[in-house]
């Protein structure tokens, strides 16, 4: 049952990622990335990281991608035209490398059957993460909040007219 779910989420993620690459209109690429994020949320839940799965949807799918969509729509980005082939040499190089990567992944998947992800009580419950964030990792937490503040100021200053 878990394997079936994993296969569904993994295949969805990979097909959608290919769509990000292959689509011509940036809006379609952004929506394909939305599908990838949804599939990754499913994978996080399978791994027991419930808090992160929900945070992934809230932050990535619900905020960052909406920002991308706003920019694409407000700047009225058109689809790119088909490009001229300028460097056919790299094409001949890409195929062997892709096959090499495929062989490595195949080896990875087939031979390491004996390291299963532990099931049972998950380690990613909100209370545990919250406790760690506010005790061991308190300094990075506070520094990150300042980082976000800087990012907000930077974005506002950069995009202001005149």
């Amino acid at each position: 049952m878990e394997r079936a779910l994993f296969v569904i989420f993994a295949l969805t993620a990979i097909v959608a990622a290919l769509n990000v690459l292959l689509r011509r209109h940036p809006l379609h690429s952004a929506l394909a990335l939305l599908v990838v994020l949804g599939a990754l949320t499913g994978l996080y839940v399978l791994l027991g990281a419930y808090f992160l799965a929900m945070i992934q949807v809230v932050i990535y799918a619900g905020a960052i991608l909406v920002l991308f969509l706003f920019v694409i729509m407000l700047l009225n980005i058109r689809a790119e035209e088909a490009r001229l082939e300028r460097r056919p040499f790299f094409r001949w190089l890409a195929v062997p490398f892709a096959l090499l990567l495929g062989a490595e992944i195949f080896y990875l998947v087939r031979t390491f059957e004996e390291n299963p992800v532990p099931s049972g009580t998950s380690v990613g419950v909100t209370e545990a993460i919250g406790r760690e964030l506010f005790t061991t990792y308190l300094l990075p937490f506070e520094v990150t909040s300042i980082l976000i503040l800087i990012a907000i100021l930077g974005a506002v200053v950069l995009a202001r007219r005149g």
Partner: protein, 102 residues
């Protein structure tokens, strides 16, 4: 109920990372390149969460938390820069943005 070996998760993360990297290399539209970067970040997040679950250590998930926050900040600033770029050059093709001064 059979469990899933971690190499499967790592393989998915590797494939996603590769596709993200190829997107950054091949595409000429600045926004789609940013999407490729986000895809790479997500693949790295998946790897971190996989290992966190395998070793039953929380550090991986804390790392992912911070990576998500930083990715949000970076996307905001990157998109602001793209908006500026578009305003000046009326195009988002990064090949056209090669000179420092227009």
């Amino acid at each position: 109920m059979t469990t899933i070996p971690i190499s499967w998760y790592l393989a998915v993360a590797a494939v996603l990372f590769t596709i993200g990297a190829v997107t950054v290399f091949v595409k000429r539209n600045a926004i789609v390149m940013l999407l490729g970067i986000e895809l790479m970040l997500n693949a790295a997040n998946l790897t971190a969460v996989t290992f966190s679950s395998y070793f039953r250590e929380l550090a991986g998930q804390i790392l992912v938390f911070f990576v998500m926050v930083v990715a949000a900040a970076e996307a905001a600033v990157g998109l602001a820069i793209i908006v500026l770029l578009f305003r000046h050059r009326e195009t988002l093709n990064v090949d056209e943005a090669q000179l420092l001064k227009l």
